[in-house]
């Protein structure tokens, strides 16, 4: 469609918005006056008018919220909630319907209704003798509970649980639906899931699987909430009444209504992901893959949500990713991406699904690249929605795990790198983090383009982000820098080091968050790797970095931190006598107060890689041709390191065994050690 054609209606739309505002401003004082009239008939007419104006019309909802009509309607509910006169009933029905419509799929509306303090009064409507009032009250509450803004329902209080069970046992479908919505909204913790199971809710929901269309959907969704990540609840569900419940859900994946099919799929995925012992046969796995791909064809909400369900099915699971690949998932998702203007939620979902598909399997990535899907994804980096931008970055991160394509330089072009660097400045933290993670992969192979990246300001941006208040941003920025200096030439390293400065690098090593410490140590490890000159970085500013590394190693809580730190020392220990002595100084402090060296702890660690790094460092320190080697060996021996290494001759880890053998050989040339 030509742009001029689509531009004109939006111009009229904004003009119309202001004309509505004027017209509504005129009507508003009138409508408001009628809503607060003392004449019930006048109020009723005003309520109906308001209802018919706002239903289906988000623009008007927003307008009337801004004009302050919600509190006037809330007052009617509050003042009449206890009355049972006939015409008062219709006032209640209409005002509850108005509030429900304000809250329907619209968070601003939910907020306005909650702020009006009408929430508890709506609950009172549920015990009204007039069934129509009950219907209207239940509907409105359900609308509110469909929003994240609804207050949390506390299942752990007995009287609340009794009330919920009474809702679920009610004959009225709107009321049972409300009960289900409350569970879907508020059941999050294991304790809550247990309490619901104990109260017999699981059984009740299973019986609702045979109910009407709306009851089935509500039941499927709340069942998923109760059993999610709860092995006990899953087995209770699957083994209830001789597995009938599970087969009912499987049956519902063939239902004629797409929403029911989707919810049944989600329920099965939750069961699978929680208890991998169920639903393992290839038939059901394949079926889920095909069903979810097919549900993408639904033009509405179901299609938007299908890709999120698909992601949860295949994420981290290579077997399912393979099945999805064989089902042509990449082509199918790509076809949806090509369909012009997509709803942001759908766009985001498809990008994330592609990201999961390409997270492990190289053939998925090749397929993705062969379809030229990369262009669509890079365009999405500039999308208006931050969710879409973040999803595009995550997709790029997955695809750029392909070593083959990294080496071919497929990602190193202005089309991808420039927008990514720009996203480092994004106002939304999740986008920054995602952009960093994508860049982190892409910078690994920069053989020819590193300088271009630095010149476009990418490196400075990364350094800036290591000072972020957000620890995930700091960690991801460090990871990207760490990959950027991987096997880089000295000029590049120097540039980064000058920008970063020794003191801030040292303070990042001592960051409060362990995962930041780990990335900082990894960066230093890559920085001091390579030529001898590189080692000097760690000695600037009075060895501030080296000291920080040593301090971290003495307090290391995680094997991963020990590993990265040891590799730093190991790289330094390859240097000259001065360097080696500095490492010795960290390993065995002069003022020995009887404390065991962390080396012993690392050598005894369960982590093979950590043991490797520790032994390797000893090998580098005691290299026979270096002048101070014998002296260092004596000191290591006194600290118990030598005897510890001798005891590791038959280490189960091959890498360790190899280094231990080298170390023992070197010990023998100095005549130290047994035989």
């Amino acid at each position: 469609m030509p742009t001029s054609a689509s531009a004109s209606p939006s111009a009229t739309a904004s003009a119309s918005a202001s004309s509505i505002a004027i017209a509504a401003g005129r009507n508003h004082s009138d409508l408001h006056a009628r809503l607060i009239s003392s004449d019930g008939e006048v109020q009723l007419k005003a309520l109906r008018e308001l209802k018919n104006r706002i239903i289906g019309n988000r623009t008007k909802k927003l307008l009337y919220i801004k004009l302050g009509l919600v509190p006037a309607v809330a007052d009617i509910v509050a003042s009449k909630a206890e009355t049972i006169a006939d015409h008062e009933s219709s006032l209640l029905v209409q005002s509850a319907a108005v509030l429900g419509s304000f809250a329907c799929g619209f968070d601003v509306g939910v907020r306005a209704v909650l702020d009006a303090g009408v929430f508890p009064y709506l609950f009172r409507l549920l015990s009204h003798p007039d069934e129509k009032v009950v219907d209207a009250g239940a509907r409105s509450l359900r609308m509110i509970y469909q929003s994240k803004l609804a207050p949390k329902y506390d299942f752990l209080q007995d009287k609340n649980m009794d009330f919920l069970v009474s809702l679920l046992n009610c004959e009225n479908e709107n009321v049972t639906g409300l009960g289900a919505s409350i569970i879907i909204h508020s059941c999050k913790s294991v304790a809550e899931q247990r309490a619901l199971c104990r109260a017999g809710v699981l059984k009740k929901l299973i019986s609702l699987l045979d109910g009407s269309l709306s009851q089935r959907d509500a039941s499927l969704e709340s069942l998923a909430a109760i059993i999610k990540n709860n092995v006990e609840a899953v087995s209770k569900f699957v083994e209830s009444e001789s597995t009938r419940a599970l087969s009912s859900v499987i049956e519902l994946t063939k239902d004629r209504y797409p929403r029911t099919r989707l919810l049944a799929c989600i329920c099965l995925i939750v069961i699978r992901n929680t208890s991998p012992c169920y639903l393992q046969d290839i038939g059901i796995k394949t079926k889920l893959v095909y069903l979810l791909l097919e549900l993408h064809d639904d033009p509405g909400q179901v299609g938007d949500e299908a890709s999120f369900a698909f992601s949860s099915l295949i994420a981290e699971k290579e077997d399912l990713q393979k099945l999805a690949f064989e089902a042509n998932a990449i082509d199918k998702l790509y076809n949806h991406l090509q369909k012009g203007v997509l709803h942001p939620k759908r766009f985001q979902g498809i990008l994330l699904a592609l990201a999961d598909l390409c997270s492990k399997l190289e053939n998925c990535r090749s397929k993705f690249l062969s379809l030229k899907a990369l262009n669509l994804v890079t365009n999405a980096l500039n999308h208006d929605s931050s969710d879409v931008r973040a999803a595009a970055c995550i997709c790029l991160r997955s695809v750029s795990r392909s070593i083959k394509n990294l080496c071919a330089g497929h990602f190193m072009n202005e089309m991808i790198v420039f927008p990514l660097v720009q996203l480092l400045d994004d106002p939304c933290t999740s986008v920054q983090v995602a952009a960093l993670s994508a860049l982190g992969n892409i910078v690994i192979d920069f053989t020819t383009h590193r300088s271009a990246f630095v010149q476009c300001g990418g490196m400075k941006q990364l350094v800036q982000l290591t000072k972020s208040m957000d620890s995930t941003v700091r960690s991801n920025a460090l990871r990207a820098l760490r990959n950027l200096v991987f096997l880089a030439e000295k000029v590049c390293k120097e540039g980064i080091f000058l920008e970063l400065t020794a003191s801030s690098l040292a303070s990042l090593v001592s960051d409060p968050e362990p995962f930041v410490q780990e990335q900082a140590l990894g960066l230093i490890r890559n920085l001091v790797d390579g030529c001898m000159n590189s080692v000097e970085f760690i000695f600037s500013e009075d060895r501030i970095i080296l000291d920080a590394v040593g301090r971290q190693l003495r307090n290391a809580s995680k094997a991963e931190i020990g590993k990265q730190g040891m590799y730093v020392l190991n790289n330094v220990a390859r240097g000259n006598e001065l360097h080696k002595e500095a490492v010795m100084h960290q390993l065995i402090p002069q003022t020995d107060n009887g404390m065991q060296s962390f080396m012993i702890k690392f050598l005894q660690s369960n982590d093979g890689q950590l043991r490797t790094a520790a032994v390797w460092t000893v090998v580098n320190l005691t290299f026979p041709s270096s002048p101070g080697a014998f002296d260092r060996l004596v000191r290591l021996s006194n600290a118990g390191v030598v005897s510890q290494i001798e005891s590791m001759a038959n280490d189960p880890c091959l890498d360790v065994k190899l280094r231990v053998r080298t170390a023992l050989g070197q010990f023998r040339t100095f005549g130290i050690g047994s035989t």
Binding site: P9, S10, A15, R48, K51, I55, R58, A97, M143, G300
Partner: protein, 242 residues
């Protein structure tokens, strides 16, 4: 030489198959059909399902009394649904919208496409009645914001507004929007949405059964010659051509 014989043999087999198509006489066929038992209650339920879904509320009520078949839905809701449908068919779309909202305010709030189509129908009626200014104002106020939310709505809106550009609408490319069929289309969309909101199937079961009958006959045609039902309205068995 050998290839020639293979072809000949295959041709012979095909001919044999064609000849061997089984012939079932009317007596045999009727005897077979007599052996199939259909419960009266099931028949009644199918009829009730048809009456309810199609909205023949008086007939359904009478049928309930005479046959004792309980409908799976409150018959009062059929009256409401029919009133909505009728309002759209007569072009009183605003009235129809108010009725739907009284019936269940959720329907139009959660079904943007249906809401758009109803508003579009309202616009069409305004144009039909020559209320050009009102139509333009309505399009701007009510429909343009929906078009901003959804690309396909925008395209439909443009098509509808185009009606205003033609002097002779009966002979213009978008003229079909003014047809009665457009009203019927919208009416049936509302009808289906109301039925779904009442957890009721939106299509009656009888047509599906008849579709299945036709399909089954087509399958059988390949294997046998038998008395066939060609005219569904009479359900007469017609002798096979021999």
């Amino acid at each position: 030489m050998s290839l020639f014989w293979i072809v000949i043999r295959q041709l012979a087999e095909i001919e044999e198959m064609a000849v061997s198509k089984k012939v079932i006489t009317r007596e045999e066929w009727e005897k077979k059909l007599n052996d199939v038992k259909i419960r009266k209650e099931d028949m009644n339920k199918l009829v009730m399902n048809f009456l309810v879904t199609e909205g023949y509320v008086d007939a359904a009520e009478k049928f309930r009394l005479e046959s004792g078949t309980e409908p799976d839905i409150d018959l009062a809701t059929i009256t409401d649904r029919m009133a909505v449908k009728k309002a759209v068919q007569c072009g009183n779309v605003e009235d129809a919208i108010e009725k739907v909202n009284d019936l269940n305010p959720e329907i139009l709030d959660t079904n943007p496409q249906l809401f758009f189509h109803l508003q579009q129908q309202r616009l069409i009626e305004l144009i039909r009645n020559g209320k050009v200014e009102e139509a333009l104002e309505f399009a701007q106020e009510e429909l343009a914001p929906r078009g901003e939310e959804n690309q396909s709505f925008l395209e439909e809106l443009e098509r509808t507004v185009a009606l205003l550009a033609f002097e002779d609408v009966s002979n213009c490319p978008v003229g079909e929007l003014l047809d009665v069929s457009q009203r019927l289309k919208t009416a049936s969309e509302v009808n289906a949405a109301i039925l779904t909101s009442q957890s009721h199937e939106k299509d009656p079961k009888l047509p599906s059964l008849l579709k299945m009958l036709i399909w089954a006959q087509n399958q059988l045609d390949e294997k046998a010659a038998y008395p066939r039902i060609n005219d569904l309205s009479t359900a007469m068995l017609e002798d096979p051509p021999i």
